[in-house]
């Protein structure tokens, strides 16, 4: 049986679990969230990505109920949540600082929310044990938060916010304090837990790799606005602006003047250089300023001029960044423009084909990059 693809955002009948409708949040005369509209669907793993101070935490805090929008409405399952106080919302939050209660044991921390619901004692115990098992914390149930490691604390915070089986779980930079290895393990753990519990997750992160790894969709934010919402692959392959292209991963950005012919666009970008040929579905006016964005791994680097390829430019290797599995070559064109190209290091270092000051050719097909208006 073919597995159905999970993309409710393309299904016109799907009902979003959360809807932001023209939400604006101001602190004094500072606008933290600027007329934001977005739908998030059930069972999604939705990532908010953006630089520090762009309003990610503010969005989360509005969902949790610690801030109220200045304008606009937020709907949870179709109902306006503005009048509902934080302790009555079917939303739980995992805090950036974990916010574990230092005077309570791991077990009591996880049971805290359940006890507030006046659940029966044996039911609480069963649920806490289930959470302990899920987050592999059984051995630490009696410990206090200061007696466990950072990674374990983070799992306690997760268990505590999951215990009440919220419809929506908010994770505010949950893995920020972990080292890289532990962070990667935890990312997969999070995805696993999300799949098992079927909870909708909204995760805030400023780590683009993390967002790409875990999320079903990523929203890239800047200055209180959402610039693009799409799947990780779409965001990476077809960013809608130079901001997104530049924010996610590494990119070469070349500004020039467009001249369109059907779906082909020629971008004149520098004296003495051939125009770049790209493909687009957009419309560019003749002479309009446009930006050509291409990922370094899509630029091939060769010693001789390749035949039958849409774009080829000559340059000199200025710098090489060796990253283990791959190397990034910074190639200077005769006019001083720098272009990055990436190649896999499938040979040992000593037998590498290029070195500093080598003359090389850079080439790419007409579909390798994207053309952006801004």
């Amino acid at each position: 049986m073919a597995q159905t693809v999970f993309e409710p955002w393309n299904d016109p009948d799907a009902k979003p679990i959360i809807q932001f409708k023209n939400v604006t949040k101001r602190f004094g005369d500072f606008t933290a969230i600027d007329d934001l509209t977005i739908d998030i669907y059930e069972r999604e793993f939705f990532a908010l990505l953006g630089p520090s101070g762009c309003g990610k935490t503010t969005m989360m805090r509005m969902l949790a109920g610690f801030e109220t929008p200045t304008d606009g409405t937020i709907l949870l399952q179709g109902k306006d949540i503005a009048p509902i106080s934080p302790n009555k919302r079917a939303v739980n939050m995992m805090f950036q600082s974990y916010a574990l209660f230092p005077h309570l044991s791991v077990w009591e921390n996880i049971a805290f929310g359940l006890k507030r619901d006046k659940m029966a004692k044996d039911q609480i115990a069963a649920r806490v044990d289930e959470m302990l098992r899920l987050t592999r914390l059984e051995k630490f149930a009696r410990r206090k938060p200061h007696q466990i490691s950072g990674g374990q604390r983070q799992r306690v915070a997760l268990a505590r916010s999951l215990a009440k089986a919220p419809k929506l779980l908010l994770l505010d930079e949950p893995l920020g304090a972990l080292d890289k290895k532990l962070r990667q393990d935890t990312q997969f753990e999070l995805m696993d837990i999300q799949e098992k519990t079927g909870t909708t997750f909204v995760i805030v992160t400023h780590d683009q790799e993390e967002a790409m790894t875990v999320a079903s969709r990523v929203a890239v934010m800047d200055h209180g606005k959402i610039i693009q919402v799409a799947t990780p692959a779409e965001i990476y392959e077809t960013p809608n602006s130079t901001y997104v292209a530049d924010f996610i991963g590494d990119v070469n950005l070349i500004e020039g003047r467009a001249e369109q012919d059907g779906d082909k666009v020629r971008v004149a970008w520098a004296e003495g250089q051939p125009a770049i040929v790209g493909t687009t579905t957009r419309q560019f006016d003749k002479g309009q300023t446009c930006h050509f964005a291409i990922r370094p791994e899509k630029v091939a680097i060769t010693a001789t001029k390749p035949e039958n390829i849409a774009n080829a430019v000559k340059g000199k290797i200025h710098d090489i960044a060796y990253l283990g599995n791959i190397s990034t070559y910074h190639v200077a064109l005769p006019n001083g423009h720098m272009i990055k190209a990436q190649a896999a290091n499938n040979r040992r270092l000593s037998r590498r084909s290029f070195t500093w000051e080598d003359d090389v050719w850079l080439s790419w097909t007409d579909t390798a990059g994207v053309l952006l208006e801004r």
Binding site: F66, P86, N87, N92, A99, H103, F112, G113, R116, H146
Partner: protein, 296 residues
């Protein structure tokens, strides 16, 4: 060697200012009243050497302590001191906690000023401040004048020279000792813990009981001891603000010394007071230690 010198300084300090006076008081408490100055005997005569010292030792006895158990004035005074200290501590806590809480919740730029205001009374003499309470609480005092001019009462209230005045004096004097440790605990409290509690279903009030109070417990305990311990032996406040029926051991102690001039009995009273205080002091130390460990 240097380490030894470093450690020796505080020990020498304790020896000179605590242990030696304590031994002198202990010795006097085991002596007999005499009508010369100093008004007790025996006195140690070192010119006779070891034999003189032994003779001196044999003359010491527990007579004064036995005397303390025979007159019910003393144990009533101890009990009454404990009682007054206990209720004053509770009252100081009730008044001090909300103040500390409000200070910790105040905007950050105000906090140094608020702290200043709490400490400000220490800039004037304690004695003057207690005297000024006499001016406030007396029958012609400011409080009665204010209440009468507002028409709230027609007869002046009798507050001065009652236990109420003593409580007011103690709460007023010791309030900073309650506020400061509680404020220190509350100021450290991470606001996101309260949000987490609310997020998990607590109302504001239950978040206060379940999170704020337990996390300021160390501060509350420290503050209570800092008020309770000195209040038991308090002398100035009950003698200036209290009446004849206010019974506190500090007052009894000073009467024995200065009115009866019975130094041996007075010393015995002081020794017992010290023994009573040892228990809360040890508990206080334990609390401090626990707090230090928790912060590690």
């Amino acid at each position: 060697m240097r380490r030894f010198t470093l450690i020796a300084i505080p020990y020498f300090w304790l020896l000179a200012l605590f242990l030696v006076p304590f031994l002198i008081v202990l010795k006097i408490s085991l002596s007999d009243t005499a009508l010369a100055i100093p008004p007790y005997m025996p006195s140690l005569d070192l010119s006779e050497g070891w034999a003189g010292f032994m003779a001196f030792l044999t003359e010491l006895d527990f007579e004064n302590f036995v005397w303390l158990t025979e007159d019910d004035l003393y144990w009533k005074a101890y009990l009454s001191s404990l009682q007054i200290a206990f209720f004053s501590t509770v009252l100081t806590l009730i008044v001090g906690y909300p103040i500390a809480y409000a200070m910790a919740r105040a905007p950050e730029e105000w906090r140094p000023t608020l702290l200043m205001l709490v400490i400000l009374p220490f800039w004037t003499s304690f004695l003057i401040r207690v005297y000024s309470w006499m001016g406030i609480l007396s029958q012609e005092g400011y409080l009665n004048q204010a209440l009468m001019s507002l028409g709230l009462i027609s007869e002046p209230l009798i507050i001065l020279n009652t236990n109420i005045a003593v409580y007011i004096g103690i709460v007023y004097t010791y309030l900073p000792f309650m506020i400061l440790p509680i404020y220190a605990a509350l100021e450290k409290l991470d606001g996101s813990l309260l949000e987490a509690a609310e997020d998990l279903g607590c109302s504001r009030a239950s978040a206060f009981w379940l999170v704020t109070i337990p996390l300021s417990k160390q501060g509350i305990i420290a503050g209570c001891f800092l008020v309770f311990i000195p209040t038991i032996g308090e002398f100035v406040i009950p003698s200036l603000l209290g009446g004849s029926q206010t019974l506190m051991i500090g007052k009894v102690l000073s009467e024995e010394f200065f009115s009866n001039r019975d130094w041996p009995v007075a010393s015995a009273v002081a020794i017992i007071l010290l023994l009573i205080l040892v228990i809360p002091i040890i508990l206080f130390q334990r609390n401090e230690q626990k707090q230090r460990e928790a912060e590690k």
